[in-house]
Symmetry: C2
Subunit: 217 residues, 2 copies
């Protein structure tokens, strides 16, 4: 998103751009429940300035220079939340969800790395933190869409009356994965289930039949 903004805004605005992202259901922020986020800007001073201005005792911002990493995490978590919802809808358990989140982080990290981000960012609030929130909290619309599909509803029907960011993002992620030659099996299955008519059971089977390997990114 910051690349789009740089194209649109006057060049002088470029180094005043910052991205705020992390696990933050708005309702809980409003209730004053402790919330931590990442604040990313290419210029460290910009990030520190926003950190000082927006932080309170229960709303705490951590600075980073990795704008790409923060944005990738914030976007892809919506696609993975659809997969997490499908896990719920299929009646699978906590083990499967935890594995999905972990392997999902690995996918995010590979793409961020290929695009110039830093792996550590995805291990932080705007990566793991936001993904855990979206996949396990019950307030996520992305998760609900996945749940309906997991229960056997036709994605075309579901998408007629429900909408969430991850549906469109799955197309962008699929395109980016191809462009940067990054292996993103979970995101690919979400894309194929939503947009290419692949049955959800077949998507799960594809993930389970992958070759066993070392646990690396």
């Amino acid at each position: 998103m910051h690349q789009v903004m740089k194209q649109i805004l006057p060049s002088s605005a470029g180094n005043r751009l910052a991205a705020l992202s992390g696990p933050s259901f708005a309702r809980e922020v409003a209730l004053g429940q402790p919330t931590n986020l990442s604040i990313a800007a290419e210029e460290t001073e910009t990030a520190h300035s926003v950190q000082i201005q927006l932080s309170s005792r229960t709303f705490r911002l951590y600075t980073t220079e990795d704008v790409i990493g923060v944005e990738i995490g914030g976007a892809i978590k919506n696609v993975l939340a659809i997969a997490a919802g499908a896990v719920d809808g299929l009646g699978l358990g906590h083990n499967t969800k935890a594995a999905l989140i972990t392997r999902g982080i690995a996918e995010m990290t590979r793409l961020a790395l290929a695009m110039g981000g830093h792996p550590r960012t995805l291990a932080g609030l705007s990566g793991i933190g936001d993904l855990v929130l979206t996949c396990t909290g019950h307030l996520s619309r992305n998760r609900k869409i996945g749940e309906a599909i997991g229960k056997g509803e036709d994605p075309r029907t579901v998408l007629k009356h429900m909408i969430a960011e991850g549906v469109e993002t799955s197309k962008s992620v699929h395109a980016l994965a191809i462009k940067h030659k990054v292996d993103m099996p979970i995101c690919t299955e979400v894309y194929q289930s939503l947009h290419e008519g692949k049955p959800i059971q077949a998507a799960l089977e594809s993930l389970l039949s992958r070759e066993l390997k070392d646990e690396v990114y």
Copy 2:
């Protein structure tokens, strides 16, 4: 644990030791629900051999050489699960829990690194994966102890009738943090709440009043 086993077993057994760890509630494994784990051994061949022998379609092992990282993740997640339970008991929300998990991973990672482990391991199944399972699944006894304390019960009373691994592990982690000069604020607060009579509200306040900084390990 593998250090202890090496001391006790004949030296020839050393390179046949492997550590299996990851998000795996036993009940769900028994039900055949998809479960992924890390299998760690200093000798790659050992890990691959166990991988081949134990894996099935729904029980999938990923190999790694980082035995220390896998063991640290499996142990510390129990301490952090007590903190996650306290978050629930205090009536705090998903944002706080997600932040706790994320900052908890950072603590695990710092200690593992200081002890010779690899940061990537903690971003994997035996780190993030197991931590997410233990902190968000409702089957964890560690989480239940934290919840009781968060609700205002006296830790001394709670520990008389409930027992979980994290209670003792919090002592070992506290000692290791001091020995390796690693900053582990969440584990320290759990230790002080359980064993030094620090009130849970004061522990929370300590975490919220820490200086704001960059989001790094």
